[in-house]
Amino acid sequence: MRAVLGRDLRLAVRAGGGFGLGLAFFLIVVVLVPFGVGPETEILSRIAPGILWVAALLAALLSLDRIFALDHEDGSLPLLATAPLPLEGLALAKALAHWLTTGLPLVVAAPILGVLLHLSGPGMLWLLVSLAIGTPALSLIGTFGAALTVGLRRGGLLLSLIVLPLYVPVLIFGAEAARRGADGLSVATPLLLLGGIGLGCAALLPFAAAAALRVTLR
């Protein structure tokens, strides 16, 4: 698993690996939103947690199709599948690599970009916490979706449509936690639920993804 992880991380950082892509997209959304909705501080700070969450989710969504597609195209997926690593482990490694290259940078960048949207101090803290808890779930769900659509024509579009509804609970609880945090309310409930979703995903989705891979590889 460590080998796959290292290889994926290296590939992501190298040319064309799309390491910066998610982050750049996140930045783009956050810079553009004020031009769209107008510069009023109250409005911006009101919608900031939600927009940042949606932007993070989109950034994760856009980088999903790289999880398996590149390996599928150049034929390394069958080779990986026959390696002495169970497919569940492969799926987990892939999800982890995706999180490290996409989710983690987003978590780190979110508070900085929050400044642009007038996010309040506690808002930043809770945004960071909720993203840190929620983005791994995004990567896991995405890996499952990617496994379902490996090698399909129009895979990218299909992938988005499949993953989108699965993302909704994460988004709801994550954004709710960030919003409550920004308003100074209690954040315990949504964060707990978010953590629960994350753990559930980690426990179940690698198996689902492995099952999907087994079918797509046939």
Partner: protein, 189 residues
């Protein structure tokens, strides 16, 4: 597509597939490589041991020659023997982005990849396209003196004469009759 083709290739031997355009050489090689299931029939013993070179070289224009080879070596956890650059006359082109190579130079790079991945069974689909006469000779020498001499297997599809003394199969007589057809459609016929 094809019907009644059957062959075994022993280690250290090669085989040349011939036949007019569209007869099914590429299809056959892909089936051997496990990239597409044959409509009927079996392929034995290739799979994990095979390296496939298609019409397209799969070269990323942005990577340099050295990076490309290094990548494939990495991917197959093989070492990158320095001598490859000589075998395929790529020494001067090492640090050139692959996108700036001429057609023949690019093809040489694509072939060098095969020497790097260290697979026993090489499936080569028109490997010498775009190569000049000298490069064809160099490639033939590689197949004969390095790959086959070390017990490798090579199955080549080609339209031209490679100067390799290998048994040939002409696929023309094996063109499938229109009715002959396997696959899952069969259940509905």
């Amino acid at each position: 597509m094809l019907e009644g083709v059957s062959f075994r290739v022993a280690p250290g031997r090669g085989l040349v597939l011939r036949g007019p355009n569209g007869i099914g050489k590429t299809t056959l090689l892909r089936a051997i490589a496990g990239l597409q299931p044959p409509l009927s029939g079996r392929v034995e013993g290739a799979g994990e041991r095979a390296g496939y070179a298609s019409h397209a070289d799969g070269i990323k224009p942005a990577l340099t020659v050295a990076e490309t080879l290094g990548f494939w070596a990495d991917l197959y956890r093989a070492e990158l023997p320095e001598a490859v650059y000589d075998w395929f006359d790529l020494a001067d082109l090492r640090d050139r982005p692959a996108g700036t190579l001429s057609a023949g130079q690019g093809r040489r790079l694509g072939l060098a990849r095969l020497a790097v991945i260290g697979r026993e069974v090489l499936l080569l689909d028109e490997p010498t396209v775009s190569l000049d006469a000298a490069s064809v000779r160099r490639f033939a020498a590689f197949i004969r003196d390095r790959h086959l001499a070390q017990g490798g297997i090579a199955v080549l599809a080609t339209h031209i004469d490679l100067g390799l003394e290998l048994p040939e199969i002409d696929l023309t007589p094996h063109r499938a009759a229109p009715e002959a057809r396997g696959g899952s459609d069969e259940a509905f016929l």
